[in-house]
Symmetry: C2
């Protein structure tokens, strides 16, 4: 394979996770150490930073501070939800990207994100090829949603799953404390895929979790939900139900849709308020004490409860992207293959064609959900357990987390 | 002082905390080890367990499992929100308590709770004295609200404060990630006292916290709130406001009151939904992206983010209650005195008269809040910082918390 010398850009895109900075760190440290990479730039707010000529010179950061990125939540370089147009219809932005790439002699582009970001990677790579500009493009996966195609799981998921399961266990303890009946509804993120909500089943498998779990992989029938809750309520007095924000009726309408009409930058409906709504519904039907809890942003930024397995894998994904690119590969997304040896989990890096992963969504297999669509089966527990193992190494100072403080010095 | 031999009952009451079980453990282990205490009983659901003759024999628990109570959230024995009547009006329940005390030869009663529970302690103690039944009664404080009178702080507060500050720091990282303006409203518990909401200022002092903080100690002026948010929004693009669930207007009406009409067992209004409501208001006024986050139950049960200082102090409070009772004291609540030596914090046990603490509420001093009523001043930071220091020793198994599993064998 040919040696390609030049600068690299690392960008972060889409919703943040607890470990996206661990991936950035893996890429940045590997790139800084590689003689074939002349400059390491961080894009301010993903592809927007490229378009705006807003790049940070990562070599000017204090290495010790940079190393703290491993335990710093959210996207330290800034993220965006910018969807690039089809270049065949409007190539304005692509021409601008090429201009910036030429200005900084960028020969490596590493983009860390979810489905939409892999699509951005793919489009940029194709445009550069067409323009005859040699640039290697690698996608680094991240998404708490765990819905990227072709990879066993995604960096970010294990930590969110660990936080969700831990929180469900703590809420379980709390919700059972009084000698009076109560129904608790916990709303968990996940628009189209139920991976996050299914993580609540880890708490149930540990004996301290929701009684009922509803994913968007099945249609949500409000009458059946009320029947489920009522039956358990009459039997046990206490009921905890976990619901995905993306649960929908048989016609595909989000149950939470009435709550809001906002959309995000990609045109997706912004969901929320579902827990309160279902809790109210239960209260009206059963006349009992209810509580609705929305885990909200906390599930994607809780580095204090991140999974060590997830952190290390996220770092490895970032490092692998750089290593494989300098060795000659391009148009790939770093993926994970699960290897089980004598019952022990191991995660291997595998490279997937960007073309094959962009814009595809991986859902929880229907056979991992019970027939009634209100519970999760053992194969999911076997799948998710290795991903939440190990505790974070987040350092505390004076009782509070100590996150990375970057200087973010603009490149010229 | 006279030696009094007999059984003891330990009960837990009111809303759970991350460390109320640490106090129970301190009391139980100390009582089990003391030859003057013949039997150690745990009351199922606080005073209700006494009334219902539902006591657990704590000597039958596996000591190793019992020891896990130090890191198990919520009230392991069960809690209640039962308010006892004035015995001069109706002494039915007091006669029943005396009957149970006689049945089990109970000479020590330890009750772990907040304001209302200290009132219960006080009433029971007075009744036993009047009835000529010798029984020593000690209150062990707990409340995330930190509103108990006479003590520097309350077990449970430090852990809740640590969780709130940590979560605010993580949300801060997350909320600033996009290159578009956004206003985030975080709703924090605390009906009448703003201690919990003030803890968000620890995050601000660390450079990663809310811009605006509103406590129930001052009147909430919606117009001023919108002006505050708008000014910061126009200057910085990003705004985070932390509000207490108990903020109220100048007439004392809760801002969240329209959201719900439910009340709890003590007749207090059940609040909630405030974050969403204020976020909607900001959206209507400023037309910007908003997010409302309610920390909900998580702030009182997040043992995974508990303060080691709080855990150890909670344990010490439970142990001290038993130690002082067997030494002859009664009608006291264990309190904390803060000792600062060369800038180092130390916490000393002090005993307060139950009479002097029951039903009184301690609020955040007005002079610790800025003149505008939208921010917290340095004296609070100095006060709260030592309380959140140190991390939990919660053990994890297979990536998830491992809480105590008690057998709860009923005494006969």
């Amino acid at each position: 394979m040919s040696t390609l010398k030049g600068s690299c850009i690392i960008g972060q895109s889409g919703g943040p996770t607890a470990v996206i900075n661990a991936s950035a760190l893996g890429a940045i440290q590997t790139a800084l150490a590689d003689p074939r990479i002349t400059h390491v730039y961080g894009a301010a707010h993903g592809i927007r930073g490229v378009l705006d000529d807003a790049l940070y010179d990562m070599s000017l950061e204090d290495p010790a501070e940079l190393a703290r990125l491993k335990y710093t939540p959210s996207s330290a370089l800034g993220s965006c939800r910018h969807k690039m147009k089809d270049p065949d219809i409007d190539d304005t932005e692509y021409r601008r990207v090429l201009e910036i790439f030429k200005k900084y002699d960028v020969r490596y582009f590493f983009y860390n994100g979810g489905n939409d970001s892999m699509d951005t990677c793919n489009k940029i790579s194709k445009y550069m090829l067409k323009a005859g500009y040699e640039c290697r493009v690698m996608g680094i996966p991240k998404t708490i949603d765990n819905d990227l195609f072709g990879t066993d799981h995604c960096p970010g998921y294990g930590s969110a799953a660990k936080y969700i399961a831990t929180t469900c266990m703590e809420v379980y303890q709390d919700a059972r404390v009084y000698d009076m009946p109560m129904v608790t509804v916990i709303e968990i993120m996940g628009r189209h895929a139920g991976w996050l909500t299914a993580a609540a089943a880890l708490a149930t498998a540990a004996g301290l979790g929701p009684d009922l779990i509803y994913l968007p992989e099945t249609d949500f029938d409000q009458a059946a939900f009320l029947r489920d809750v009522k039956a358990l309520y009459e039997k046990n007095g206490k009921v905890i139900a976990a619901v995905s924000e993306g649960i929908h009726d048989a016609e595909g309408r989000f149950i939470s849709e009435a709550s809001t009409s906002a959309t995000d930058g990609f045109g997706h409906a912004q969901l929320g308020g579902l827990a309160a709504r279902l809790a109210d519904l239960v209260k009206t039907e059963l006349g009992c004490k209810v509580r609705g809890i929305e885990l909200s942003l906390l599930q994607r930024c809780a580095t204090h409860c991140a999974s060590a397995t997830d952190i290390e894998e996220a770092y490895a994904a970032g490092a692998a992207a750089v290593r494989h690119a300098v060795e000659g590969l391009t148009d790939k997304m770093v993926g994970f293959r699960r290897v089980m040896e004598n019952g022990h989990y191991r995660c291997e890096i595998q490279l997937l064609d960007l073309e094959g992963v962009a814009n595809l969504e991986k859902k929880v297999p229907r056979e991992w959900i019970n027939a009634e669509g209100n519970g999760i089966l053992p194969p999911f527990i076997d799948y998710a357990t290795p991903l939440v193992r190990g505790e974070t190494g987040l350092p505390f100072e004076n009782g509070l987390p100590r996150f990375a403080k970057l200087k973010k010095i603009r490149a010229r």
